[in-house]
């Protein structure tokens, strides 16, 4: 028999057989690991699906474009297309304009209409139709016939469109009747927006939208040669308001945002797995401890310490492996829910994605397998190392060595305290943009630190409460206190699991509450107004379409009833890299009715300058992303001019697709001349006696049907609703972590009972009643859970600071006002204790499973 073969036979006898005889315990641990692994895998797969959908979309839309020509805040003159195509540095140039449109008389969601030149675009993007007679006929139809489009397959399917049918599409301008001349087949542009896309000729696009003479952007493939030199040469030959950027820039900024979200959810889901590994530790530790005699026999028969180490290590790893396999069906149940939740959150917060389903990524499967097995193996290292120290002479010993030396506890405590002390400096380290790696590293350090100091806390608690407990609750409570004092690292590990779960719970409760309260304040102050109006589909089209003069005149006609705050938004990149919204707003009326939530800067002193357009206020996200601070100068090229204004203040803002910069509408008018609005908010005058709904009805009656309108209170309610939905996934993950921790408590207490089978039965044999023994176990559970809960609360409060002021800042660029939801915490503390004590039930049942006489006879 080979050495390996022998090892595995030994593994079967020594590890698997006892494991099989304690099925309940093993299954509990496996269930804990499986839940953790399933959550981790499902979350990763769900975010991966969103990321893939985003990549597919960007790949389809960007195609082979290398550089993009655009005008910040404006559109590119179409005459540049011919100029670029004649440029020696340009191999291909394709004009692109896009807008979201809606089918008239339908409730279906808006879809992307992409206007392009099918001839010039051929080198850049691939697409084909399912039913074209020839490859050319589809694009030829688009060019030949005004008002034709080719639909993505999903779009055609959802609307039940057949080739040749007509439909009316709505946009900010006049509706237009289109005829569908084909449906895109798979691949290329058909993947854009998950198939919710339609292509039309650039001429049709301009005739529909009215944006004649200009295009959104011109995508380029450069002639062979050095890119940097080519870009420089092009810049020289282009008008100064025109910028040229790598085509992948949009893709990169979107990818970074999703990646940050992926990391946050991965870490949160890893917490479940992390908590699950405490179970592995407990079980391996129990097995190692309860089989000391057998281990000593094995050693006396010639097994090396290394082999003993390997046996227990493989046990931990096997638990990880089996847990991972069990996680597969659990993931199948979790995934549909997570897929929907995650894709909705990504679409709401970052970039629109359409996730048709998930594809099994080999990398994600491998990652999940490796992480699960590795952490389970790692959890088994310490008990395995303990087991390998069992000397052969222990065969003859009546009672094996137990307990943890005082010195070791001190060392652990010192290391734990050092780790906790290192948390804040580590959290403050600079990390990669958008990825809160230092914050998460600090979180892990905090968890481990607290787990390491828990033996000392238990020891101190046991020591200090034993005597009072005897007076208070009699001998069983005293014995429980003494046991907790001496229980050492094994109990501490389960306490560590509880600390982790409670800390996660507390910190997330605080973070979500703080976030919501701050968002609520922001919504009430900054998103103030009784009625918000904008051109049709303005929001989904990034407010690019100005309102028509008729629409503006209509609003003015109601100026006796409502005060109008006009605004104009531009979606821009600051320094060509930071996406943000530049919003010009009539400051005076706005500040009379609402306000910004100021973080830095003197709100009162800055107000005149802000109203007169002598400065800007920037959001915290924008400040963090760009490094701009109060007093710095904000610079932005805009439609051929440049906005150059000092930063007057930093404000809180929670729009999710980058930062925002506010400045006075009058300053924009001075800069650009006649400026049309992209939206307005209306504040009812007291004298009008109208309600917001009446104001909206008045606008509708006077022909305002071509505008999007939303009541202020509905908008604010919608923002908070989206906020709550966004945290649905987080809350589910949180409860799963708590469930795994409860499993940990159940396992730990059962183990504590099983470990002391003989002691408990001896106590019974010398006169202790079963009630006294059960009371003792209950007190042990109470003490352990109390320590876990108390330490978890402290850890949670520390963690909440890291989450709010470090991880959110590093991930999304924002922080919140620190607000503790005391009522939720007050409710949760007894709840967690109750759940943990309920988890102690299996331990009660485990006491006296065997008759004491039988136990004693064994000796």
């Amino acid at each position: 028999m080979t050495h390996i073969g022998f090892f595995f036979r030994l593994f079967g006898w020594f590890i698997l057989r006892p494991m099989g005889s304690a099925k309940g315990r093993t299954l509990t641990v496996l269930l804990g690991v499986a839940l953790g692994a399933a959550v981790f895998t499902s979350v990763r797969l769900a975010v991966h699906a969103s990321l893939e959908a985003f990549h597919r979309n960007m790949d389809a839309v960007v195609g082979r474009a290398e550089q993009t020509v655009l005008v910040p805040g404006g559109r590119v003159p179409e005459s540049l297309v011919a100029r670029l195509l004649s440029h020696r540095q340009v191999k291909a140039a394709s004009p692109i304009s896009t807008t979201y449109v809606r089918v008239a008389g339908s409730d279906t969601e808006p879809f992307l209409l992409l206007g392009f030149d099918p001839l010039l675009d051929r080198p850049l993007r691939h697409w084909r139709t399912t039913d074209a007679e020839t490859p050319v006929s589809a694009w030829l139809d688009l060019i030949r016939h005004p008002g034709t489009f080719i639909a993505g397959s999903l779009l055609a399917e959802r609307n039940g469109w057949k080739t040749g049918e007509t439909t009316t599409l709505l946009h900010a301008g006049e509706p237009m009747t289109f005829r569908m001349v084909g449906v895109m087949a798979g691949g290329g542009l058909s993947a854009a927006e998950g198939g919710m896309v339609a292509l039309c000729d650039i001429a049709t696009f301009q005739e529909f939208t009215g944006w004649r003479g200009a295009v959104d952007r011109i995508d380029l493939i450069l002639a062979p040669g050095e890119t940097a030199a080519a870009v420089q040469a092009l810049k020289k030959d282009l008008p100064k308001e025109v910028q040229i950027r790598p085509a992948s820039r949009t893709r990169e900024s979107g990818r970074m945002m999703i990646r940050a979200y992926q990391l946050n959810l991965s870490i949160l889901s890893f917490a479940s797995l992390f908590v699950g590994t405490f179970l592995v530790y407990s079980l391996v530790a129990l097995n190692a401890a309860s089989r000391r005699k057998e281990t000593a026999i094995l050693r006396s028969l010639g097994a090396s310490p290394r082999m003993v180490f390997a046996l227990f290590l493989v046990e931990g790893t096997a638990l990880g492996l089996m847990g991972w396999l069990l996680a597969i069906p659990v993931s199948g149940l979790l995934l549909p829910f997570l897929l929907e939740g995650v894709s909705e959150t990504v679409s709401t917060l970052f970039v629109r994605v359409s996730v048709p389903g998930f594809s099994l990524s080999a990398w994600e499967v491998l990652l999940s397998f490796t992480v699960t097995v590795a952490v389970a193996g790692a959890a088994a290292v310490q008990p395995s190392a303990e087991a390998m120290k069992v000397p052969p002479r222990e065969v003859l010993a009546v009672i094996g060595r137990r307990g943890v030396p005082d010195r070791q506890t001190k060392r652990l405590t010192l290391a734990g305290l050092l780790m906790i002390a290192g948390v804040w400096p580590l959290a403050r380290l600079p990390g990669p943009t958008g990825l809160a790696l230092p914050g998460y590293a600090a979180t892990m350090l905090l968890f481990i630190g607290f787990a390491m100091i828990s033996p000392a806390v238990l020891r101190r608690l046991g020591r200090s409460v034993s005597i009072p407990l005897r007076r208070l609750a009699g001998t069983p409570a005293y014995l429980a206190g003494r046991y907790v004092k001496d229980s050492g690292t094994r109990t501490a590990v389960s306490v560590g699991a509880l600390i982790t779960a409670v800390a996660l719970f507390v910190s997330l409760v605080i973070m979500i509450h703080s976030f919501r309260e701050t968002v609520k304040l922001w919504v009430e102050q900054t998103v103030s107004g009784d009625l918000f109006v904008a051109s049709r589909l303005a929001e989904v089209n990034d407010f690019r379409d100005p309102m028509t003069r008729d629409q503006i005149a209509l609003l003015h006609s109601l100026s006796d009833e409502a005060e109008i705050v006009a605004s104009r938004r531009f979606s821009l990149l600051y320094d060509g890299r930071v996406p943000y919204t530049l919003q010009a707003m009539a400051m005076d009326p706005f500040l009379r009715h609402g306000d910004f939530v100021w973080m830095r800067g003197d709100a009162r002193a800055s107000r005149p300058a802000l109203v007169q357009g002598r400065g800007v206020v920037i959001s915290e996200v924008f400040a963090n992303r760009t490094g701009l601070s109060v007093g710095d100068r904000f610079r932005q090229p805009l439609q051929g001019t440049a906005v150059k204004l000092p930063v007057l203040g930093i404000i809180r803002d929670y729009r999710t697709q980058g930062g925002v910069v506010f400045f006075a509408f009058s300053a924009l008018q001075a800069q650009l001349g006649d400026v049309r609005w992209t939206g307005a908010r209306l504040y009812l005058r007291d004298s009008s006696g109208w309600t917001a709904a009446e104001l909206r009805n008045a606008l509708l009656e006077r022909g305002g049907g071509s505008m999007d309108m939303v009541l202020g209170k509905d908008l604010r309610g919608e923002i908070l609703r989206i906020f709550d939905e966004t945290f649905a996934v987080t809350t589910v993950l949180l409860f799963i972590a708590l469930a795994v921790a409860a499993l940990g408590i159940a396992t730990t207490l059962t183990i504590l009972v099983l470990e002391r089978y003989r002691e408990l039965n001896t106590l019974y044999a010398v006169g202790g009643s079963s009630l006294q023994l059960r009371t003792m176990i209950l007190w042990e559970a109470l003490l352990i859970v109390s320590v876990g809960e108390a330490a978890g609360l402290v850890c949670g409060f520390l963690l909440s600071h890291i989450l709010i002021f470090v991880i959110n800042r590093q991930s999304f660029g924002w922080t919140f006002l620190y607000r503790v939801d005391w009522s939720a915490l007050a409710l949760s503390v007894p709840l967690v204790i109750a759940v943990a004590l309920a988890a102690a039930l299996p331990a009660f049942r485990a006491v006296f499973r065997q008759p004491p006489a039988a136990m004693l006879r064994e000796r």
């Binding site: 179409e78 297309v81 195509l85 001839l119 030829l140 060019i143 005004p146 001429a203 004649r212």
Partner: protein, 375 residues
């Protein structure tokens, strides 16, 4: 007809005509059903009412050191909607047009046996492509490629990453109208015809670059201009077209329309142009073309003829035509997706008892795939 027409036909056949007009008929386009009565410079310009049109230049040039190059530059125009069939909106976009242009260019570096080629396509709008006629000057352009015609002078410009050419061509002979005053019949029925003329001999001078630097070159060139509406007769699979400039001062254009059995269609014809520019029409019965060699493209797998004997008894002319280099296959994935052979050839032979030599260009279509969509 210049058989650059084959290219146009190929594109039309493969792409447009089958879609636009599956049945034979003009469908509102201007038709060619009699003598064309050319008037210049007007007819150097575009004939927007016809469905298709092309301006075609080829030539053989050499540097002072004797390094030889062949070149071709062809502009195609096609109208994708018949006059009157358009239904533009009240305020049409500047991009709205029925005219589409494409162009192919190639330089054959005969010393290094490199065939460099490029293609362009764009609609005739927003300054991307078009034909402008202004005060007797005609400019055909597509992006930065152009052909400008002013009097007897033609200025060609085209460049790509791999090559560039900038040539001034000066007509050495008057314009020659093929067929009956330009009425060039292409099949059975009066409508199967095109208006077709050539400038068969132009002196070429200018610069060609194949490795970055432009080098001065001199030589001879050929120009065709043709426009038509009708599709080709069904059953034809391709064309062999020859433009030859001979050392005795005469020039020869011949095309052979092939059917599926490689037979010669009776509409095949040619024109012999004497040293003084006098033209003589050649019917299909007046000449015989025999293939003497073949070459298989490693890229497309198409087997092309690669050598010909041409016999024209009425002129006592016997010519041997050989490719100046084998691989001059054009591949046009970005525009027409048609594969054809268009290349420089060298000619040797005799007229009567006199030995003659020459250079020219040959175009071979329908060898990579038959043109079942006809013109």
């Amino acid at each position: 007809m210049s058989l650059c027409r084959a290219l146009g036909i190929a594109w039309m056949g493969a792409a447009l005509f089958a879609f636009i007009s599956p049945a034979f008929g003009s469908g509102g386009y201007a038709t060619v059903d009699g003598p064309c009565h050319f008037s210049f410079p007007r007819d150097h310009g575009a004939h927007f009412g016809h469905r298709t049109e092309w301006w075609y230049y080829t030539g053989n040039v050499r540097t002072e050191q004797g390094r030889r190059y062949g070149f071709q530059l062809t502009f195609f125009r096609t109208r994708i909607l018949a006059p009157g069939a358009e239904d533009p909106p009240p305020e049409p976009s500047a991009w709205r047009t029925s005219q589409i242009y494409l162009a192919h260019a190639a330089v054959s570096d005969l010393e290094e046996e490199r065939h460099l080629q490029a293609e362009r396509i764009a609609r005739g709008a927003v300054g991307l492509a078009g034909v402008q006629t202004d005060d007797g000057r005609v400019r055909v352009m597509l992006n930065d490629w152009s052909a400008r015609i002013e009097g007897d002078t033609h200025r060609l410009k085209a460049s790509d990453a791999a090559f560039s050419l900038d040539l001034v061509l000066t007509a050495q002979k008057p314009v020659v109208a093929h067929g009956d005053q330009g009425y060039s019949v292409k099949g059975a029925g009066p409508g199967r015809a095109s208006c077709y003329y050539s400038v068969t001999r132009l002196a070429a001078a200018g610069r060609i670059g194949t490795s970055g630097a432009l080098v001065p070159v001199n030589g001879t060139a050929w120009m065709d201009h043709e426009y038509s509406t009708s599709p080709l007769e069904p059953g034809l699979t391709g064309w062999d077209w020859f433009s030859i400039q001979l050392s005795d001062g005469s020039d020869l254009m011949l095309y052979r329309l092939r059917d599926a059995q490689n037979g010669t269609h009776s509409a095949s014809s040619g024109t012999w142009v004497g040293p003084q520019g006098t033209a003589r029409h050649l019917g299909s019965e007046d000449f015989r073309i025999t293939e003497t060699d073949s070459w298989t493209s490693p890229a497309s797998g198409a087997a092309y003829p690669a050598g010909w004997n041409i016999q024209i008894p009425s002129l006592e002319m016997s010519l041997t035509v050989s490719p100046a280099m084998a691989d001059q296959e054009m591949k046009t994935p970005e525009t027409t997706n048609v594969v054809y052979w268009e290349g420089s050839v060298v000619v040797e032979g005799s007229r009567g008892d006199v030995r003659i030599r020459g250079v020219g260009y040959t175009e071979l279509t329908g060898y990579a795939a038959p043109f079942d969509a006809p013109m």
